[in-house]
């Protein structure tokens, strides 16, 4: 009985954590470019001061990521479900999360 309870608690605990569905990085890359994300945020999601902020390699959690893209603040145009599905946004987020870490600050001249 004690063992069964432990298993159930574990399942509840896992469900409570709601692991994010894995996106497809390669498909995300294609979607990221095709849907024009790169035109403001750069091909690596690195952002640019004059067009859009950095969004990789540490994008928002998936739920917040999708919520923001459906109703963005500031100048970003909204992307409705008709234009990009939740699954497509999941793939885009996976692509962004897979981007390279930054170079050490020492690469920059003073």
């Amino acid at each position: 009985m004690r063992l069964v309870s432990a298993i159930l608690i574990g399942a509840v605990s896992l469900a409570g954590q709601a692991p994010e569905p894995a996106g497809d990085v390669e498909r995300g890359k294609t979607l990221y470019v095709k849907n024009g994300c790169a035109d403001c945020h750069g091909l690596e999601g690195q952002g640019a001061p004059t067009s859009g902020p950095r969004i990789g390699p540490n994008p928002l959690p998936l739920e917040a990521f999708i919520k923001y893209i459906r109703a963005p603040k500031n100048q970003m145009p909204p992307y409705t479900e008709k234009v990009m599905s939740d699954q497509e946004l999941t793939d885009v987020r996976a692509f962004l999360a897979a981007r390279a870490k930054p170079a050490p600050a020492t690469v920059l001249p003073q």
Binding site: D39, E44, A48, Q75, P102, L108, P109
Partner: protein, 579 residues
């Protein structure tokens, strides 16, 4: 006419040859000895005006542009509009044949016009069509004076072909009038005292400077004012939405009071916000969203006092809307900022008490901490996508900076998405000349060459971070740079598109829920990709590229700088990220 022009001390005449000013051109190059002024062959009138535009932003004085009254002016008109919006003096002389009986049948009729300056009258400060040589002399001197009086701006003088070509009947009766420039207007002393009181009493004053400084002295005065009251300063950040103070170099980029990299927070915190010759004060003090319903809201705190100082209060025109949205302010000073700053500084000094000094010092520490943190964030952001292919705008800005920072450099065009302003150390007025004013594409390359022409006599290293779309408007200016050995380093920001326009199409497509796969149609410059190295080489400019690997940048930049330091232009074509 040449005697009068020589009296103005203009070193160069930029022009593309035309029959309507053949008399004047022949006199400049022969009677005048082609010195002071020297005729510079330009391959497009737009390039000629933009060269004069860039030159004036370094030297503070106009060059002369010669053009046909019809087709030449039509080619030049957009560049004139840029100079108008940027408040820069450019002196344009138009050839025209007024007397119909004297016109050669055919093309000369097509190239003649009743009122030559009419086409650009909405965006020049003054124009005239003299009908005698003495009339020309007086109007020529007046035109120079008008162009230089703040607001500075372009002027047009029409030189009738018959007046240019007929023998001079009464040479002894003619005289060259004396030129006396007008002292710039200083704002009303009572208003200056009131503004001084605002600044001294403020908890967090903010100075937003756009075309405030006209010289190094102007920049130093702004530093003095800011340091007196430890005010936050926002300035010189092009291409933001909306642009904030991109017009001139007003304030050292790494000064502890420079809050440009956190401009929104600084402006939101201000209880006294002062716009210093800022074109778009409404945009700086309000946020504006370009969504399905366009909307705006105040970016300043409730009750903040808004103040402007502008010479623009003294002259207004109606048709072209460069005056921007009406700003509701608490105090508006009509006057030139640079001329008003000394009186304002003295008025502030008279009001400062020891208590206020202590408050200022505490504020200064907070602002220094905030600007240091903002700069560190910007440097961290620059290290992302460091090794990306195509090359990131931050990487290119950093690679160029690494090799020019020990030189006496001058950034005469471009910003690389604002990274140059974030990573480079701007300290001198001539180190940045601002943007075009009218946002007419095609300004960048010729304005850079004009500014480099001015920088040549000081031995400065001129740098143009050159957008591909801009260069393709009139790439012939590269030939002018090569022909006259104007040293300048062009580094191509070649992203093979008009990316701002891509973004507009995306906005429309998203708004209509159509998907945006087709937003690139009409906006990309690819297939075939332009080979800018070959283009530049064909025009006599040392060039290499395209460079796609970031590791290849440093040696290429080094080789190009060596060419520039030998006195010639050089270009590096770099394949870049969209942004």
């Amino acid at each position: 006419m040449v005697d009068v022009i020589k009296s103005l001390g203009v070193p160069y005449v930029c022009g593309n040859p035309g029959s309507s000013f053949r008399g004047l051109q022949e006199s400049i190059v022969t009677y005048g000895g082609n010195e002071q002024p020297e005729f510079l062959t330009c391959l497009h009138e737009e390039s000629a005006v933009a060269m004069a535009h860039g030159y004036a932003k370094i030297e503070g004085k106009p060059l002369i542009v010669l053009a046909h009254g019809t087709v030449g002016l039509q080619h030049a008109s957009m560049a004139i509009y840029n100079a108008w919006c940027d408040r820069v003096p450019v002196y344009i002389i138009l050839g025209n044949t007024l007397d119909a009986i004297m016109r050669y049948p055919g093309v000369e009729w097509v190239h003649s016009v009743q009122d030559a300056a009419a086409m650009v009258r909405d965006y020049v400060k003054w124009d005239d069509t003299p009908i005698s040589l003495q009339h020309f002399a007086e109007s020529a001197v007046r035109a120079y004076k008008v162009s230089m009086t703040p607001w500075a701006g372009p002027v047009v003088l029409v030189a009738d072909a018959e007046l240019q070509e007929r023998p001079i009947p009464d040479h002894g009766q003619l005289r060259v009038p004396k030129l006396t420039l007008a002292a710039p207007p200083q704002a009303d002393s009572g208003a200056v005292a009131e503004l001084a009181r605002f600044l001294v009493d403020a908890a967090s004053p903010v100075l937003i400077a756009d075309r405030a400084a006209r010289s190094q002295a102007g920049m130093e005065r702004l530093v003095e004012l800011a340091e007196l009251v430890q005010a936050a300063v926002v300035s010189t950040l092009p291409n933001t939405m909306p642009p904030i103070g991109p017009g001139r170099m007003n304030f050292p980029s790494r000064h502890p009071l420079n809050q440009t990299l956190r401009s929104a927070a600084a402006i939101a915190d201000g209880d006294v916000v002062v716009g210093l010759e800022i074109a778009n004060f409404f945009g700086a003090t309000n946020t504006y969203r370009d969504q399905i319903e366009r909307s705006s809201r105040a970016a300043t705190k409730t009750g903040a006092k808004l103040v402007t100082i502008s010479a623009g209060e003294l002259s207004s025109k109606a048709n072209y809307q460069d005056f921007q949205r009406y700003s509701e302010v608490d105090l508006a000073l009509a006057g030139d900022v640079e001329a008003t700053l000394p009186a304002l500084i003295e008025a502030v000094k008279r009001l400062i008490t020891d208590d206020r000094k202590r408050a200022f010092a505490a504020r200064g520490v907070r602002l220094a901490d905030a600007s240091r943190a903002a700069r560190e964030r910007a440097r961290t952001d620059a290290t992302y996508a460091w090794d990306a292919v195509p090359i990131s705008t931050a990487r290119l800005a950093a690679e160029v900076w690494a090799q020019v920072r020990q030189e006496d450099w001058s950034l005469v065009n471009g910003a690389l998405s604002g990274w140059a302003q974030r990573l480079w150390n701007f300290e001198k007025y001539y180190q940045y000349i601002g943007v075009s004013g009218g946002s007419g594409i095609g300004y960048g390359a010729p304005a850079a060459v004009g500014a480099a022409l001015a920088n040549r006599r000081y031995g400065r290293l001129s740098i143009s971070l050159q957008n591909d779309g801009d260069l393709m408007y009139a790439p012939g200016v590269l030939w002018t740079a090569a022909h006259y050995k104007i040293p300048i380093l062009f580094v191509m920001n070649n992203n093979r598109a008009y990316h701002e326009e891509v973004m507009h199409l995306q906005r429309m497509a998203s708004r209509r829920e159509r998907g945006i796969e087709r937003a690139h149609i009409g906006n990309v410059i690819n297939d075939p990709a332009i080979d800018f190295a070959k283009l530049a080489q064909s025009l006599g400019v040392h060039a290499e590229g395209p460079i796609a690997n970031p590791g290849d940048l440093a040696p290429a930049i080094s080789r190009a700088i060596a060419i520039v330091k030998s006195g010639e232009p050089a270009l590096i074509d770099v394949i870049m990220q969209p942004r």
